[in-house]
Amino acid sequence: MSQTQTAHRVVITGMGWVTPLGCDIDDAWGRLMQVQSAVGPVTRFDASTCSTNFAAEVKDFDLREHLGERAAAHRDAGISTQFALAATKAAWTMAGMDQTPPDLSRVGIYLGAGEGVLDYEPYMAANIAGYDTESRSLDSVAWAKTALAGMRPDREVEQEPQLTSTHISYELGTMGPTLNCMTACAASTQAIGEAFEIIRRGDADAMIAGGCHSMIHPLGMTGFMRLTAMSTRRDDPQTASRPFDKTRDGFVMGEGAGIVILESLDSAKKRGANILCEVVGFGSTADAYRITDIHPDGKGGAGAMSAALRQAGIDPSATDESGRPLVHYISAHGTGTQENDKTESAGVRSVFGELAPKVPFSSIKSMMGHLIQAAGAVELMTCIQAIRTGIIPPTGNLNEVDPVCGLDHVPGEPRDENHRGGVDVCLSNSFGFGGQNDTICIRKFHD
């Protein structure tokens, strides 16, 4: 069997998200267009003495509003799994899967779901009971006693990240290939990329793909505070996330879920589904450099972008007759850390060369925060929205572009590209701690 001759075309026919800016596609997109910030004080726990005491939380979420009575079947699921269930429901419905059902044995799931939120109270109780302050050592017997008394079986096991896809499969009855990956902040982009390859090869007709995550809990925030990776702008949280700005001082934690329905073109046509865009390329690389630092040349990110463009058959150095680059928008990983934004910009420069400053390259993390493993999926969906509307989302809080970034970061307000034909090809970048780089290339569907 020859790969090149039998590869299926892959399209996206549905999407759903749960984000700090809202759970409805149009509502949250509208807020991005108004450059609203979702960042505010942490309400999930007492973060008052934390150097970062703010985050972009999903507010007023109730799974029953999304699944109705079916929500009860998932009552033990952690919050990030519940986000994913709601996003899946929206995507599944948008794809018309409930109206024209697919063969469920040919529908798989590939998520970059993060670990479930830690049930930290009994865990902390065990850690306190288990530490003998006199001998300054751990008393495992005391630890076990408190843990066995306090930890709840469902809450412990539900933290396993692959159980998010288990819930989704149970909800919808899907039986195709089902995987979960955790490549830190690159995870949901990687999941969508690998799901795309599974359909391309013909191992499934459709894939539910994306990710979910919430690290807005004491130990999750602690980890990033110890790494000094988060902004500490306690006096003005709404401007804390400021990718590409000269004064940026770290990312802002967000949470949520983003799910897309990938489908072979044949399947989508057979079902008469509305096609949102085509997935045309996926690139994945490893920096193989350091666990704490990104390669200073941004070569890992550049490699991922190049690989995605190569698969898409798009030449990054080419333009259309008007001189416009063929890539109309890059959704940046753009975390707002000094290092990421600098190296990612370097990577874009090395791929696009002289054309780099002409490619819009913005980060919605400025408004939504960093949804960690869910970020890539949600950002890909903003690329889909850019294709659908012809409008590119801006980078908020960008007052003084750092010259080491210095590209077209679409500062301050969205950019309407409809006067020059709208938006055709987009890249979405996601890079993870430890040097995991993933890029997806989508384009407007042309039959």
Binding site: T49, C50, K145, A147, L148, E160, Q162, S165, T166, A286
Partner: protein, 440 residues
């Protein structure tokens, strides 16, 4: 032509062996790797025995220049790094992880990928509890206010090292391995409990087939032999309650009606796989060829492994579907198989559902050919397990025999030379995978 991958390097690191040769010898002997847990005082836990990896020191498996970085490796990462080094050596590769010189590497970084199955990594209990103990309120409860560093905070969290989080991200297994060996191709960290390694190996084979890499380091590693891991696996109904004095051979008996339950192990099950032509061009020995792969899912809620699970499914439907699809992918029929290498945890309900899936997908063959499990000898090594199982199957193919000691169901037909075998596994969350291996 479709590009098949061959397995050219084995890195089995587990309770019964730390090298391919020792692994094969242990599989042929009656060596049991289960013993009382001795890495911490386990007397307060309901399961006190497990399959522990011994006699390896991470510092011996990294270049001198990388020894400092071993301080930020969790046990899971150490096992992955050790197993990857063993596999690379077994494959006859020289990488920058082999030694400290920087010449004569035999891999092309950009064309070498790395997919490693992993589990959730538990924070080291002593390290975390020491820090947490500094942040208590007057009632002795954890105090978030004292934990913080600002205002009235007493900076309890600063008792954790700055890189604390990086020790526990599951992708650190692959990150350290890619950094040590210089692997810049596609890299992923798949998490699917016991299916993690097989899903990773399958993905690696697909990455090679689609032309995104020539070679991959692949498999999995995990250690749940720690306080949190023991509790969670106990809670999931997957562990026998066993006192340290219990005889492990009486407790865990895969597919046997008197088995009392599963046992935990730890390990690294890493492989080097590469495009068949790539292996041939560099004169590498191929243990086995991967000719078929598939993954599938059982659509049921997560339930602890008890009888109530069977109320949802008599058989593991995902496992059955993955076996059927893997055979189709390989262009093989059930009758072509000479042996099955499966999970067989020794937990009655899980074993019955697994056997049900084998019978559903393989028909009479499920009862006529030998079925192999190693979980009673190594413990359930979780994300490493299917990597170890694949290494076991590869060695059987290469040596032309299935050692009687690892056959847990003998089948009613005379055993044939294992030229075409099935490696398959169900998992905690219903994710299942199956792979067909053939003699090259």
């Amino acid at each position: 032509m479709r590009s098949h991958s061959v397995i050219t390097g084995l890195g089995p690191v587990c309770a019964i062996a730390n090298t391919p040769n020792a692994f094969w010898e242990a599989l042929r002997s009656d060596a049991f790797g289960i013993s009382p847990i001795d890495s911490f005082d386990v007397s307060g836990f309901r399961t006190q025995i497990a399959g522990q990896v011994r006699d390896v020191n991470i510092r011996d498996f990294v270049p001198k220049s990388y020894r400092k970085a071993t301080k930020v490796m969790a046990r899971d990462t150490e096992l992955a790094v050790i197993a990857a080094k063993v596999a690379a050596e077994d494959a006859g590769l020289k990488t920058r992880g082999s030694e400290d010189d920087d010449e004569g590497f035999t891999i092309n970084p950009a064309r070498t990928g790395c997919q490693i199955g992993a589990g959730l990594i538990a924070a080291e209990t002593e390290e975390l509890s020491r820090a947490v103990a500094t942040a208590q309120d007057s009632d002795g409860n954890f105090s978030l206010r004292s934990w913080g560093t600002v205002g009235e905070g007493e900076a309890g969290m600063n008792n954790l090292p700055p890189l604390w989080l990086l020790k526990y991200l599951p992708n650190m297994l692959a990150c350290h391995v890619t950094i040590i060996h210089g692997l810049e191709g596609p890299s992923n960290t798949v998490m699917g409990a016991e299916a993690s390694a097989l899903l990773s190996i399958g993905e690696s084979a697909r990455v090679i087939e689609r032309g995104s890499a020539d070679m991959c380091f692949t498999g999995g590693a995990e250690s749940r032999i720690n306080q949190l891991g023991l509790i969670r696996w106990d809670y999931a109904g997957r562990l026998a309650h066993a006192h340290r004095d219990a005889n492990p051979q009486d407790i865990c008996k895969p597919f046997h009606p008197e088995s009392q339950g599963g046992l935990l192990g730890e390990g690294g099950g890493m492989l080097v796989i590469e495009r068949a032509e790539h292996a041939a061009n560099r004169g590498a020995r191929a243990y086995a060829k991967i000719t078929g792969f598939a993954a599938a899912q059982t659509p049921r809620p997560y339930i602890p492994a008890t009888e109530s699970m069977r109320e949802h499914d008599e058989i593991d439907r995902g496992l059955a579907a993955s076996i059927t699809n893997a055979l189709r992918d390989a262009g093989r029929a059930p009758e072509d198989l000479d042996a099955v290498f499966c999970l067989g945890l020794g937990q009655l309900v899980l074993d019955q559902m697994e056997l049900g899936a084998l019978r559903h997908s393989l028909g009479d063959s499920a009862d006529s050919i030998p079925i192999v499990s190693i979980a009673h000898r190594t413990g359930n090594t979780m994300a490493a397990h299917a990597g170890l199982l694949t290494a076991c199957a590869s060695l059987c193919i290469q040596n032309g025999e299935v050692p009687p000691n690892i056959v847990v169901r003998s089948g009613d037909q005379p055993h044939r030379q294992p030229n075409i075998v099935l490696v398959c596994t169900p998992s905690l969350g219903g994710q299942a995978a199956a792979m067909i291996l053939e003699k090259p």
